[in-house]
Amino acid sequence: MAESNVKVDVQSITKRFDTEKSEHALALSNVSFQVKTNEFVTIVGRSGCGKSTMLNIIAGLLSPTSGTVTIAGEPVDGPGLNRGMVFQQSSLFPWLTAIENIEFGPKNTGVPKGERRALARELIALVRLKGFEDKYPRELSGGMQQRVAIARAMAIDPDILLMDEPFGALDQLTREDMQRELLRIWETRKKTVLFVTHSIDEAVYLSDRVLVFAPHPGFIKKELTIRLPRPRLKSSTEFMKYHEDIYETIGKES
């Protein structure tokens, strides 16, 4: 019996890709882990270690070769409204304004106009973009676009927020701002988050727990719990120790 505070239960996920040369690329091999309610878990690893594949399987955008994913007791079978996702490249709908983007999910589930507008305004305030409601994505900076993307994903009140290298396309300074922003939003709104990144610093800075993935085939090489109070100092000794640990785990694989 799963504990009642387990939000995401990943059981023995294996994923095989058939490439054109009909090699069977084993992207993930027997991966299992759990994410507790309101926990912030990060999957970290080099490019190609299967972390994005894992996230896409949980999102329901990819189906696993074998294994199951359960979210709040419900098995995953295709994309669904109990999972919100933020992508690396801004995936805002360019023909809608910021606030219309945020309202998109509720609109499609039939939430009445007044209610969803109020909800959207609340989220705009949460991500600190008041005054930019009627701007089109093209008029917003990268960081702003990602904030709208986060608000949009949260508008459907998902059980879990999935984030696939959301700050990867931003410059270093904006990236650090966004990391702080994300923590602030997370602490205000209490959500379960599954975050994917290749930046070790980002993983240690943000998460309760870090799952270190290794490639060929993809599997969890190590699991760490970050026992540091937030906000964390990237220059502190403990921080750097965690960094070292993960760095060594990832190693110099080719």
């Binding site: 409204l81 996702m85 992508f87």
Partner: protein
């Protein structure tokens, strides 16, 4: 400095325009070319006044616009619909694209003889040609728009609960709109050109007919008037499409890029 340059440019534009009109008038005044064959602006106006009534002209314009409008609507809608289908249903798309891509290199005008054999000399054949003119650019551009959509935008739509036809209509098609819009502009210009040609070759009404008929009558002034009128209408309608419909509806696409 830049503002001055801009103002100078504006003056230059107006001057250029005026100079041409003046030269035109001068050529005919000094009889450098046979004034019969090359009427100046004033002579054109006189010829028109003598040979046409405002009502007649409006009738011709009406016929022409009606044909283009109808053909454009029919052919354009078909082009967008087929383009969307081909972009969404991959295998069906490959099947549908085969005849379309085979027929695409054929200029709309080349269909005139067949259109007349099949549909007679009446309106149907002309509207058919015009529709063909609109179909291909809109199909090509819609299809291109469909297959070059950022896949992340589609995924975001899926993650926000959309599937199937709803996903198609609420996310994919809007995303393809900029390309569709470019296609619209092109389609209109092809339709318009096809209309003029079709009316020149086989019609008894409309602006193309008006100038062809004028040639038979020898009223050169009317020919010149017709040419200019067609050009003006072409310019205006294109401007309308470009500025009013496209730029306004697609503000979200052009914002930040207009210079």
């Amino acid at each position: 400095m830049k503002k001055d340059r801009f103002r100078l440019g504006l003056i230059a534009s107006w001057l250029g325009f005026l100079v041409i009109i003046v030269i035109w008038q001068l050529i005919s005044t000094f009889g450098l070319v046979n004034p019969e064959l090359f009427p100046g602006p004033i002579a054109v106006a006189r010829s028109v006044a003598a040979n046409l009534t405002a009502v007649r002209v409006l009738q011709h314009v009406g016929f022409s616009l009606m044909r283009v409008g109808l053909g454009f609507l029919l052919g354009g809608t078909a082009g967008v619909v087929v383009g969307v289908i081909c972009g969404w249903y991959v295998k069906l798309g490959a099947v549908l694209r085969t005849p379309v891509e085979l027929l695409r290199p054929i200029p709309p005008l080349a269909w005139i003889p067949l259109a007349i054999i099949w549909l007679g000399l009446d309106e149907a054949s002309k509207v058919f040609i015009i529709a063909l003119g609109a179909f291909f650019p809109l199909f090509t551009n819609t299809y291109k728009g469909m297959i070059t959509i950022d896949p992340n935008v589609i995924r975001a739509g899926q993650m926000l609960g959309l599937r199937g036809v709803r996903l198609l209509l609420r996310v994919v098609v809007p995303g393809a709109l900029p390309d569709i819009a470019t296609g619209m502009r092109l389609a209109w210009s092809y339709s318009f050109g096809s209309m003029v040609a079709a009316e020149l070759i086989a019609a008894s009404s409309g602006l193309g007919y008006m100038i062809m008929h004028a040639r038979e009558l020898g009223t050169i002034g009317v020919i010149v008037f017709g040419i200019l009128l067609i050009g003006a209408i072409n310019f205006l309608t294109d401007y309308l499409i470009q500025d009013v419909i496209l730029t306004r509806q697609l503000r979200w696409h052009y914002i930040g890029t207009t210079g």
